[in-house]
Symmetry: C2
Subunit: 339 residues, 2 copies
């Protein structure tokens, strides 16, 4: 995010001091009910749970209604969805930057740049008081992540309470929160257009495949997230708690031969082991020659998005994260004047 | 296959009477060692085991050498492989027909039509005595097929012996043979270019993902198949046996709404249950409305390629097969004059 952008109405759940996250979360600066909520699917056109949930809700949005708001379903990338590809010209979920959104439109613009401007009109404008209050962006991954929420590091304790709520609602189902800071100078994701937002990832599911079990699970998770927003809007108190979050440290590329082609792939001992500890000296890659490549770091990390199909072109075999225990303060009920 | 094509040197392992397959297999008509063998990967550019095996063997083909022959590695669809998609313009594995191969080339031809002609020059010409003796074509599927060989119904008992050899070599690993008859008037697959051929499928693996376990398994299976050919070429006797094969009966499309869009997907009770019996009255689809769709056939079938990503566009949720017990006669050793 561009520094100072909060003053434009963005991130109203901004932490007072982001530096305190690893220890104690602070309270949101100010709080209002979330009235304008969107649920976006098909940001990547071959991640089928969100594609078909969005299509389903566009036909019948009844499931997205709550007493205090009605979430708007959006099929984020219709052209990519129509051909069942991640994107047409470039990754839409990396295109919602103020630079792209503010650039002069030309007929030769890439499809996703045009679509980003449309989404910004619909759900933004990004960084302004007119932007939607919350975007929930739906994704699938080929990695064995289970249920996973992706939140920008600059996001508020609201997202942590949301994740905790899902954990309490689904005691047998791990629901992890991954926190990242965009490596570029500005935010770029679809959910960065709204004042607050989060991505929901569900895996493993192959690209282009719709599994009934994951479809049902994502549908139930979206319902629970809307329920949480409704409870917040109604003025419910959410008590303090502690939870583990996974903070992205960086990426690890595949081993490569001269010329850049793969020289091996993710080791069987790491494959499917997202969110499990990786210790120095443990194998991470199996070379085509048969040799193992060992993790050479000096501390335990927690790999996530292990062998995600879409990340090959981004030169990412997995992301390294650190597991951090955070104390999240209570989210007190909205005052009657707010609700 | 076009009737009478066998007289051009094709299908030298042709059964005397294809009609006997469901009961007792007959002997090949005549038999010679297989000297010209190709292993093709990347026929579909996002099926990564074959893509990376072919690339690896093109660098170092030593693994493909046997005393009596050296198999030639081929990256079948380099353009699709370069962009990690199944195909560029049309499915290459449906393009090796005599109609496409014999049509006049024009600059506007689809990429895969051009590439089919190149492959026909390299490995054919299809239906002639100059064609390769054997093509082993490597595939992955998102379906939970495990190890699976695909053989045309017109193929010989040689393929059944090959499958049986793999079963004996890998006692803990089911290795099934799927037999199909092309629904069109002529054969169309990459392995139909050679006199005999077979496809090896390995699943489940998402498109665009290379799993080390499946890569190693496919590599070992290819080695075993080449070993079998070598034993055949050396004059080994292969005794008679019985085995189950799965004969394709037809396809089943997804449930669809008005307009053709999906109205549901594969039922959780069917998902991942390839090659297991499906009984009348058992659920096959879960509609987005929550209702189940039941199988209405009047006999047990064995679904295969359940929820394969690439088959959505072909309107195939799964293929129905029947399980047939076949008696395969001995494959007697080649006489010294042949070897």
């Amino acid at each position: 995010m561009v520094p100072g952008q909060e003053s434009l109405g963005k991130r109203r759940f901004q932490l007072e001091s982001p530096g305190t996250l690893a220890g104690m979360c602070s309270l949101p600066e100010y709080r209002e009910p979330l009235r304008r909520v969107a649920v976006t699917g098909g940001t990547h056109g071959n991640e089928m749970c969100g594609v078909y949930l969005a299509r389903n809700w566009l036909q019948d949005p009844g499931e997205l209604r709550r007493p205090s708001f009605s979430a708007m379903p959006v099929l984020a990338n219709p052209a990519a969805t129509a051909v069942c590809r991640r994107y047409i010209d470039r990754d839409l979920n990396r295109t919602l930057t103020l630079t792209f959104l503010g650039s002069k439109a030309t007929p030769d613009d890439m499809y996703e740049v045009k679509r980003a401007r449309e989404l910004n009109q619909l759900l933004g404008p990004k960084g302004t008081g007119q932007a939607f209050d919350f975007i929930l962006d739906l994704h699938n991954t080929t990695a064995n992540t289970g249920v996973c929420l992706i939140s920008e590091a600059s996001q508020s304790s609201f997202n942590l309470h949301l994740c905790h709520y899902l954990q309490l609602q689904n005691p047998g189902l791990p629901c992890r929160l991954v926190q990242f800071e965009p490596s570029e100078a500005e935010t770029y994701s679809v959910d960065s257009v709204s004042k607050n937002g989060i991505s929901l990832e569900l895996g493993p599911q192959p690209q282009g495949v719709l599994r009934a079990d994951l479809f049902s699970r994502m549908r139930a998770l979206v319902a629970a997230i809307l329920d949480f927003i409704e409870l917040f809007n109604q003025g419910k108190d959410f008590p303090a708690f502690e939870m583990d979050i996974y903070k992205i440290l960086g990426k690890v590329d595949f081993p490569r031969a001269t010329g850049g082609d793969l020289a091996g792939t993710v080791h069987p001992q790491l494959q499917d082991h997202d969110f499990e500890p990786l210790r120095p000296g443990e194998p991470i890659f199996k070379l085509f020659s048969g040799e193992d490549v060992l993790y050479e770091g000096d501390s335990i990390v927690y790999p996530v998005f292990v062998n995600e199909a879409a990340y090959y072109e981004k030169h990412v075999a997995f992301l390294k994260s650190e597991k951090i225990r955070v104390s999240v303060p209570a989210l007190p009920g909205l005052t009657p004047s707010s609700t």
